[in-house]
């Protein structure tokens, strides 16, 4: 499909007012699905976490997962929503092979949470107060793969359906239209999704991994000439699955729609698909009869009526809001904005926090996680969370460094042993023989040998040029295969040189 004509972004913002609306789907990390006891697991063999309920076999009856209701209430509360004292499920009827029942069990006019708001800061320092329309419970659909053609829907010979994901609990969070963001609209959209992701991750109600589709965003964008009251026709870009894609897709739609409007044409109300590889959206289905979902109350499920006590109990269990936690930690750790942003952008706040709480200084904890550990993860093409290194390991290494048992180089080697799965820090240190040689006898012998070999350096040191000791330190470290405390070696050199 050919790329559309685009207007320059600044020009588009100059001419039109941008209105965005965001729908974020969050997959909950309950043990089981929303309406049946099948495991809620990622990456299993196809169609092995399925049963008559999630396959939509005739006569199968759903029962609500109580934990999923609690998680949904928690999300609602974290978004400052009111919680419905009387909510129910509804059937959303449509035909598509990813849902075998021909309807999705969702919520319609009685969502579990409604009328909330979320403060979303952006880089300029401005804080947007994003109004939340609702957050409702529903079930995820199965996963389709398209075979033949180019592996996409268009031109496929047939499609294959895996229902493992069908029935996984979802919470869909819908904002009200956001009017005043202008040139910051793309950034705001992505900052909003990032914040939702942080919140659900902090509450541990979702694994919140966008690359796995745990958090997905549909972005609605419309433009209207400045001063016009009536809203412009909107498009909905579906399933944008990274923060960068959210920003890029919103920016692209602004530029694309502006070019169409400026040419005097009309926007088609439709869903669009974002292609991150080539950075453009393509037209999907136009709004049609098929969007007449004929919602009606789900007769097989009884109403959800959380008591005040339950809601208040969930409220007391809510963790600290991620934004205030960040502000608190940065102050406690006395890190600069840049240093702190390093940690946040690498998604290492939890790791550093845990390490600091084990008695390590913030600077050292940051150094290990964003330095050596991130480097190894990068080298192995893995997420840091996939590496078998824990805050306890880092704390142990730091403890051995302060006790003079490891130097920097040995510590890095111990760490790589831990990551390679060779055991605990202590085990790696002992198996690889990494401990610093603290036996002064052995060190003194090595120092004497090095001094004897480099009489010119010895002269300089004796003449008061202590910085010349560096060359001797190098030789000694080499002799000791790096397993010496450089500070102690230096002391010994000066001692021996002057004796």
């Amino acid at each position: 499909m050919a790329k559309a004509e685009l207007m320059d972004f600044d020009e588009a913002i100059e001419k039109y007012e941008v209105v965005i609306g965001l729908e974020v789907h969050v997959e909950l990390n309950t043990n089981t699905k929303m309406f049946c006891g099948c495991a809620n697991e990622f990456g299993e063999q196809p169609n092995t976490n399925v049963c008559p309920v999630c396959l939509g076999l005739p006569g199968a009856l759903p029962v609500v997962n109580g934990k999923a209701v609690e998680y949904s209430i928690a999300i609602g509360l974290a978004l400052n929503c009111s919680i419905a004292g009387d909510g129910r499920f509804a059937r959303k009827n449509y035909f598509y092979p990813d849902l075998s029942k021909n309807f999705q069990t969702s919520q319609y006019d009685e969502p579990i949470a409604y009328e909330g708001q979320l403060e979303v800061p952006v880089a300029s320092g401005k804080v947007y107060n994003v109004a939340i329309e609702r957050a409702h419970m529903e079930e995820d659909a199965g996963k389709l793969s398209h075979v033949g053609g180019v592996g996409r829907i268009q031109g496929a010979e047939y499609s294959l359906v895996d229902f493992n994901r069908a029935g996984v609990p979802l919470v869909e969070i819908v904002t009200k239209p956001i009017f005043d963001s202008g040139a910051e609209a793309p950034e705001l959209a992505s900052a909003y999704v990032r914040q939702i992701r942080e919140i659900v991750k902090a509450m541990d109600v979702s694994d919140a991994r966008m690359e796995r589709g745990n958090v997905r965003c549909d972005a609605n964008v419309s433009l209207r000439p400045k001063g016009q009251q009536r809203l412009g026709t909107r498009t909905e870009t579906k399933n944008v699955n990274s923060l960068r894609s959210v920003e890029n897709a919103v920016r692209y739609e602004i530029q694309r729609q502006a070019a169409i409007l400026a040419a005097g044409d009309e926007i088609t109300q439709e869903t669009r698909h974002w292609h991150e590889d080539k950075k453009y959206t393509s037209a999907g289905r136009p709004k049609s009869d098929a969007d007449d979902y004929r919602y009606f109350p789900e007769p097989d499920l009884v109403p959800v009526q959380p008591t005040e006590e339950l809601i208040e109990e969930i409220r007391t269990r809510l963790p600290e809001n991620p934004a205030s936690r960040r502000a608190r930690l940065q102050q406690e750790w006395s890190l600069s904005d840049n240093e702190f942003r390093d940690i946040v952008n690498s998604d290492l706040l939890d790791e550093v926090d845990s390490t600091v709480s084990l008695g390590v200084s913030a600077q050292s904890a940051k150094k290990w996680w964003t330095g050596e550990i991130a480097r190894i993860a990068n080298l192995e093409g893995k997420e840091i969370t996939e590496l078998s290194v824990t805050p306890e390991d880092v704390a142990e290494i730091e403890k051995m460094i302060s006790a003079g048992k490891l130097n920097d180089r040995l510590a890095r080697e111990a760490l790589s042993g831990v990551i390679a799965g060779e055991g605990s820090v202590a085990e790696v240190v002992s198996a690889r023989g990494l401990e610093v040689v603290s036996d002064d006898g052995a060190l003194t012998a090595a120092v004497d040998k090095a001094l004897a070999e480099q009489p010119d350096v010895l002269e300089k040191i004796r003449a008061g040029k202590e910085q010349a000791a560096g060359a001797i330190i190098g030789s000694v470290m080499k002799e000791m295969r790096g397993q010496a405390d450089a500070g102690r070696v230096r002391e010994l050199i000066l001692e021996r040189a002057k004796s």
Partner: protein
Amino acid sequence: MSEITPENVRHLASLARILVTDEEVEKLAKELDVIVESVAMVKGAVSDDTPATSHPIPMSNVYREDVVKPSLSQQQALSNAPDQADGKFKVNAILDEE
């Protein structure tokens, strides 16, 4: 007074993926009309303080523990599938998107 037109019936039939003949459309329009009128009568009996009753049995908060139960095997799951490949249900190509 007929509220349900043949067009309404055809629209509903197409949404529900049901093939209907012209005679069936006429017949269904009349039948649906009776249903709509009956519902209208009930509506007339309802005052503002009558709560909507989507669920006639006074029951709420029926929940399941979040404990995994055995699922079907892949073979069982696919045993009624008209067609299958790679452990998945095989369906016709979907052409209405992109």
